[in-house]
Symmetry: C2
Amino acid sequence: MEKFFNPKSIAIVGASRDIHKVGFVTLKNLILAGFEGKIFPINPNASFILKRKCYASVLKVPEKIDVALIAVPAKLVLKVLRECGKKGIKHIIMITAGFSEVGNVQLEKEIVKVTKQFKMRLIGPNCLGVLDVNNKFDTLFLPASRLVRPKKGNISFITQSGATGSTVLDLMAEEQFGFAKFISYGNAADVSETDLIEFLGRDKDTKVICIYIESIRDGKRFLDVAKKVSKKKPIIVLKGGITDAGAKATMSHTASLAGSFEIYAGAFKQAGIIQADTLEDLFNYAKIIEKSLKPKGKRVQIITNGGGFGILATDFLILSGFTIAEPSKSTITRLKKSFPATYTVGNPIDLTGSAFSDDYRKAIKICLQDKSIHLLLIILLYQTPQIDTSIVDDLIKFNKLRKKPLVVISMGGDFTRKYKNILEEKGIPCFTYPHNAARAIKVLSKYYLE
Amino acid sequence: MEKFFNPKSIAIVGASRDIHKVGFVTLKNLILAGFEGKIFPINPNASFILKRKCYASVLKVPEKIDVALIAVPAKLVLKVLRECGKKGIKHIIMITAGFSEVGNVQLEKEIVKVTKQFKMRLIGPNCLGVLDVNNKFDTLFLPASRLVRPKKGNISFITQSGATGSTVLDLMAEEQFGFAKFISYGNAADVSETDLIEFLGRDKDTKVICIYIESIRDGKRFLDVAKKVSKKKPIIVLKGGITDAGAKATMSHTASLAGSFEIYAGAFKQAGIIQADTLEDLFNYAKIIEKSLKPKGKRVQIITNGGGFGILATDFLILSGFTIAEPSKSTITRLKKSFPATYTVGNPIDLTGSAFSDDYRKAIKICLQDKSIHLLLIILLYQTPQIDTSIVDDLIKFNKLRKKPLVVISMGGDFTRKYKNILEEKGIPCFTYPHNAARAIKVLSKYYLE
C-alpha cells in the first residue's frame, strides 16, 4: 500500500491536452505540487503534453512504473489494465467512472478479475485518488486555483465520496487544518475502507483517521481491523445515508447499500470508532483529539471576558452531559484576592470586558494548580483593546506545561482569526462557537475516559 | 427612541486622551465611522481631544445635545446624569458598569429615578450602546482594527450581553451579513428588550430581529409586544442560561434571573418567536428568512454535483422532519431526456462531478416548473473546472423569477467564498454545511407554513 502514496514513478494513462480533462489537470497538478518522481503521460495521439514526452501505451515506457493512474473512458479500461499488468505495474488508481454506480456491475467485476490475475492493487474506480501532503503526491483532478491544498499535518481523511472529500479538504485547508494523507476510494472494487484504515493505522504521519463513509463492504473484517487500529489512534466517522431516503441515494452514488443506521452505530461503538453527526463535527473532533492532552476527568473550568459566552458555554457543556468544575476553596480565595470585586469568581470565572491579558494569566495559573479542575475552557475575546496579544505567547507556555488540556473559544473576524491560527499551530485547539467547543470537549473526554 | 439611532449631536461624557479608555475609543470610532452630527467631548481636565474642543460639563456646551454617552466611573454617574437632565438631554447611553450586576442595586435604582425625574430615556448601564449602520452612528467602544463593522443590511440585533453581541457582529460582518441596527442594552435599567423590539417593529430598515437574551423584565408586556411585532417581521431569539448552571451565571452577568427554560420556550412559541439553539443558528435563520421567498409547501428537491453532499442533505432534511419532493413523472422524463445515463434522476438529482453549468440550468428550469416541488436546494461545488461561473448569473436570474425559494450549499475555500458572497448579495441564501442548510430550511417553512 505504501507505494500508492510514495511512488518513484507514475504513468498517467489518458493524459490529455484538453485543459478541462482529468488527464490534463492531474498532470498539471502533479507538476505544480512538486512531485519528485518520474511522470509518464500516456496518449497514443500526442507527442508532448506540458512539455513531457508522451507514450502510446505503458508498454512503450522504457522504465519501471510504480503507479498507473487511469483516466480513460470506461470502455477502454480493461485493455489499459491488462497492459499495466503486462508492464508489471502493481498499483492502479482508477479515476474513470461508469461502473457499478450506474449499473455497470459486470465491467467492475472484470476489472477486479484482471487486477487479481496480475496481482495488482487498485484504488477506485469512480474516485479522485490520493493526496500525500508530505510526498507532494497529488492525483486529485481539481485545479489548485479552485481547491486549496492543505498544509502538512497529522489528520488523514478517507472518503467514499470524492466531491464530499475534496470540498471538505478545501474548506479545512483554508481553516488551517494540517493533513497527512487524503484518499478518495470511490467504488472500492479492490482497496476498501478497511484496507485503508489498516494502512493508516501503521502510517507514522497519521495521528487521527477521519472517514466519510456510505457503506462498508466486509463488516466482519472492518470491525476486526477498526478495533485494533482504534486502540492505537482515534478513528472518527461520518456516515452518509442514515435515513431511508439518504440510504436510497447512496445506491446510485457509490453503488452501496447503506443499511440500517442502528446496525452501523452499534458496530462503530463496538469497534471503538467515534461517530460524528456532521462534517463540521468530524473535523472539530479530529482537531481536539489531535491537539489535546488526555484530561484526567470531566470537570471543566470556564474563564471568560464575555459574560454571555460564559453562560452559553456552561449551557452547552451541561446539555452535552458535562459537569462544570467546582473550584476548591483555596482557588476561590486566591482568585478573589487577585481580582477586583467587579469580576465574578466561580464557574465561569467572568473577568468581564475590563479584563487585561494579565488577568487571564493569573486565573489560568491558579486554575492549573487546582486538582478539582480537569480542563480549562478559555473564552478569549480579542476585541477589547486591553487584551494585548502577549496572552497568546503565554497560553502557548501554559500549554507546554502539559498539566491540563486547554481549549480556547474566540469569535470574530480577521484579527481574531490571526491569533486563533497561531494558537492552533502551537497545539491549542480553538473554536469559534461555544456549542462546537462543548461537543468537541465531550468527545475528547469520551475518547479518553469512557 | 429614534433619536438613539439618528442624533444630530452627541456628548461623550468621560472623553479621554488615554487610548485604552472607552472615552477615547468611542470618540475615535465616531469620527472614523463618518458620523455627520456634532460631537462634544466632555472632560474637565482637557482642552482638546483628537482635535475636538472639550467642555467641562454638558452644561457648558452652547448647543443642543440629542444624546449623551456616559463613560465616567460609577460613582460619578448620578452627578453627570443630573447635569444631562438640566441641559435637557433626553437620550442617555450609559456604558459605565458596576451596578446591579455586581450587587450595586441601590445606585441603579437612583439612576432610574433621575431619568424619570427629567423624562429621559436610558440605554444601559453596563452596555456597549448602539450601532446604526445607515446613519454611521457607532458608540461601540471597540476599535475597528479588532472589530470589523458590518455592511448595510436588514438584520437588527438586540443583545443583553455586550461581548457576545459585539463579537458575533464581528464574525457576521466578516461573513458578509448586512445589518441595520445593533443594540447592546446591558442591565436594561430603563430601555428594555421589549422597548427595543417594539421600536424595531416600526423601523423600516429592519426586516429581521435577532435577539440574544438572558432574561426578560416584564413578561406580560414582552409577550404582548412580541406577538404584535412577530406578525409583521420575524423575531429570532437565542436564550442564554437555559440550564441551571448557566442560569446561575446570568445573575452575576446582567443581574437577571434566567428562569425556567420551559417557561421561556413556551412564551416564545406563544409570541410567534423563533427560538435558535446556537449563535450559528441565530444568524443562519436570520439569513434564510431575510432573503428567501415564502415557500408554498415543504417538499424540497435537491440538485447536486457531489453525490455525498446530496446524501447528507437528504439525511439532514429527513432528520429535521422534512419530506423530500417526489418530482412528477413528466419532470423525470424531461430530466432523463436532458442528461446522460451516468447522471441520477430522482431526488437528489445527482449531476455527478462531470456536471457542467449548463446541466444545472437545465435541471433548475425543469424543477421550477414542477408543482410537486416547493423549494430547490442546490448543492453547487465549484471545485470542478467544468463549473464555469456563468451559473452564478443564471442562479440570480432564476431567483428573480420568484417562483420558488432557492437555497445553495457550497463548501470550500476562497474561490467558493467569492461566489457565495455574490449570490448572497443578490438575495440567495448560501450555506457551507448541509446540516445548517437543513436546519435553516426547516425554520423557513415553520415561519411561513405553521
